[in-house]
Symmetry: C2
Subunit: 474 residues, 2 copies
């Protein structure tokens, strides 16, 4: 029998790392803080890319590619930006056997190099809006890393857009956040709160940052995507101007927005269990595995029928494999496929065949049922659809059950591990800093869906415009 996972109650972090490695999603590398994304993990990223890329294109964005290296002087053009990213830069100082006159930074994000290009592309309002996205790798030298959740190098997409007016840029910023919310909830089955970040959590160089925040099974928050209204900060730094309809030169209004391979970590921490990975069917590459049971001549007939069923299932767009390996026991296989998160297990043996039926087991509930072979495709589709919905409903219920108001600072301190605290805050950075120091919880966002009723700051008692979500976070 293969190694069982460390159960969640023995240590949530240990369970996570054990799962990522045993399900062959990712592995540590010898490069500090960098991971290897294994085929099982990369298939998840490909599903994420496929779905998001379509949503980006459907809203008029086009993909492009900008250089990996950024002249250090570019990063310095926007003061807040360089201050934010400087400590995390990896610098190329030697190339082609020579010391470089000016070092290059490996992009931690591409606002600067992209603005240097946009400034050349944009002449007049006819060139706007400019709606660009890039899928690429970025690098931020992190002290503490964790597979998928925080790595020195990660894969992401970064959208960069330019607009004529501030309103249009704000609309775009919010539209992209809404796309992230839709993707997280409808594809990843991961409920999120969309809202505005505090000043201290704002992207370095932005006017305003919005995020979607999910709750993991350990009740900690995961920032799963961000969308920034950059205002004219980078436009001014790089002189990105356009001739307006009024015949005057204006700086463009910009946005940027991104999600990364961190989403895979979020996926795992939201749905998986002590048996291994659980993947919402919409993102799964492996929907069904058919396990052949039986021996000898009987087995040959089962294999034939299993292949026919697989073909039928593939015809409706499902990812299907047939496991006919006689060298491993069914029990061993169940264990392996549960670990790897195949959504639906179909067991087919001679006895089933005699009754013209098969066994179906959903990965999430592990409920076993018999299905007539004649209706197996429809039943599989129905089970997968239910699984998608149930995963979301269960995660949402969990999140809602662990979201609560706190009205005193003592209460906040006592309940910092219990989930999303809805707390009044006066918006002073000092109160936010005190909470962080005392509890290590941080402001996550001011959710759009949370009605804002004035009150008193839970820290200092000064007036507050409404409650924020405060929680410990990844």
């Amino acid at each position: 029998m293969a190694d069982k996972l460390i159960p969640r109650e023995k240590g949530f972090s240990e369970w996570y790392v054990d799962l990522v490695q045993k399900a062959k999603l990712a592995d540590y590398s010898d490069v500090k803080g960098c991971m290897v994304i294994r085929p099982n993990g990369f298939a998840l990223w490909e599903s994420i890319q496929r779905a998001l890329d379509k949503m980006f294109k459907d809203t008029g964005h086009r993909n492009a590619y900008f250089p990996l290296l950024i002249p250090l002087s570019y990063l310095k053009k926007e003061a807040e930006h360089v201050e934010g990213f400087n400590p995390q830069l990896a610098l190329v100082t030697v190339a082609g056997g020579k010391q470089l006159e000016e070092p290059y930074a490996i992009r931690p994000t591409s606002e600067t190099i992209i603005n240097a290009t946009f400034a050349k592309w944009i002449q007049s309002y006819r060139d706007l809006p400019l709606l660009i996205n890039q899928w690429c790798n970025v690098m931020r030298w992190e002290m503490r890393t964790r597979l998928f959740l925080r790595t020195t190098e990660f894969l992401w997409q970064e959208g960069h857009t330019c607009h004529e007016t501030e309103e249009e840029a704000e609309r775009e910023t919010r539209q992209m956040l809404e796309i992230y919310r839709t993707f997280a909830e409808e594809h990843m089955a991961m409920p999120v709160l969309a809202g505005r970040k505090s000043e201290s959590e704002r992207f370095a160089g932005a006017l305003r940052t919005y995020s979607i925040e999910a709750m993991m099974q350990d009740k900690k928050a995961l920032q799963a995507g961000t969308s920034h209204n950059l205002g004219q900060n980078f436009a001014k730094a790089f002189n990105t101007q356009f001739l307006g309809r009024d015949g005057q030169q204006h700086y463009v209004w910009q946005t940027s927005w991104g999600v990364s391979t961190r989403l895979i970590g979020g996926l795992i921490l939201t749905h998986s269990d002590d048996s291994g990975l659980v993947v919402p069917p919409k993102l799964a590459a492996s929907h069904v595995v058919i396990i052949v049971i039986g021996k000898g001549e009987e087995r040959a007939r089962v294999v034939e029928r299993a292949q026919a069923l697989a073909a039928d299932l593939r015809r409706v767009g499902l990812g299907v494999s047939v496991d006919d390996d006689e060298s491993k026991s069914p029990g061993f296989k169940y264990f392996e496929y549960e670990l790897q998160g195949v959504c639906l297990r179909v067991e087919l043996g001679p006895k089933d065949l005699a009754k013209e039926q098969c066994v179906m087991v959903r990965r999430d509930t592990r409920v076993k049922e018999f299905a007539p072979l004649s209706g197996a495709v429809a039943r599989a589709q129905a089970l997968l659809e239910s699984m998608q919905k149930d995963l979301f409903a269960r995660a949402k219920q969990f999140r809602d059950e662990h979201t609560f108001e706190v009205n005193t600072y003592d209460e906040l301190k006592a309940r910092a591990d219990d989930g999303f605290m809805l707390a009044h805050w006066c918006e002073k950075p000092s109160c936010e800093a005190k909470v962080k120091e005392d509890t290590s919880a941080t402001t996550r966002c001011r959710p759009f869906a949370l009605e804002q009723v004035p009150g008193k700051c839970v820290v200092c008692g000064e007036p507050s415009p409404g409650r924020m979500v405060v929680a410990k976070a990844y």
Copy 2:
């Protein structure tokens, strides 16, 4: 009127660079030797990726992702490999504000870091074959660069596989070369010669290198893809062993293979003309543009019909846009869409509508014809199919017309600019080096399709096993 392109006869190189920039395919950046791939160019790369990725997956390969940075010590483990790549490395020496103890190289190719990982993944013959591919960016510090064709950073895919036997590795190496050949000829409409490279052109660290070689319109060769049989060189350097069926430890047999954004340069140099880009329909994102002609009320009816036709064309899977912009003349638009390489132009005006017809103009031949609106979709499909075939046939005819035998060294020197020379060569590096020095032509490959008849080396008169292709190359 917009700027015309520099015609090819005025300077083939100048035409190329002018086209790449005016068709908005790519742009220079401020980072030495690195380009920005603009949306029009990136759409071509997306088409290339989509087609190749399917071919890789259909042959059992899975995608993964390995770190961008490679410890310098890894590169040094395979002596020939580091010697080959050392002069082109970009080195990260400072990260997170600190000098690194050991510098990292930005990957020029990933054999070393991937082998360090494979060594951990592979235990026994049951783990083989291991068939992995990676789509990523790589960096080789080049002295002279040219958009798409040779850039310091480029995008590519690199396949890396491990096998039990030498025969299996050789079969894989040749299979992937054959996939490249099929892709080049059937999708890119770019005829290629598949064959083996000479020792001096072998990949640093490989046993044998194979390539596909295409002929550009200026009769120069372009190496469009390579596939390497790595033997056990990297396996020995990284101790990548497996427990064999015989109960003994063995080193794995490996391959690697890649194509890059250079293919986009090859596409341009094969098919494009003085009016701009020409794209084979199978790779085009924009198959049809419908240009609305006419004024006032009449125009409104034309727009409506154009939109209906566009919807019909999209239904059969074509990329279609309708240009209804009244601020630009039809002539200006024709010029622009030819420049950008839209495969088929459809003109629709009130007079056409009265006759229930439209005008269709193929981008490559620029032949104009009238097509009844009722059969417009079928006609567009037929024209695009012909275009795909004709582009290939024309390029093949051009290549064949400029492929010829040379039998004396004087002849070789005199005709080095005329295309692919088929020349006897004794396989001594000194004769190859002399040809390169005297003419700047190099051995391209020994094509599988070229019958090998012994003869005498065109340089030294010693015995030759058969003719090689010798040509100037990009």
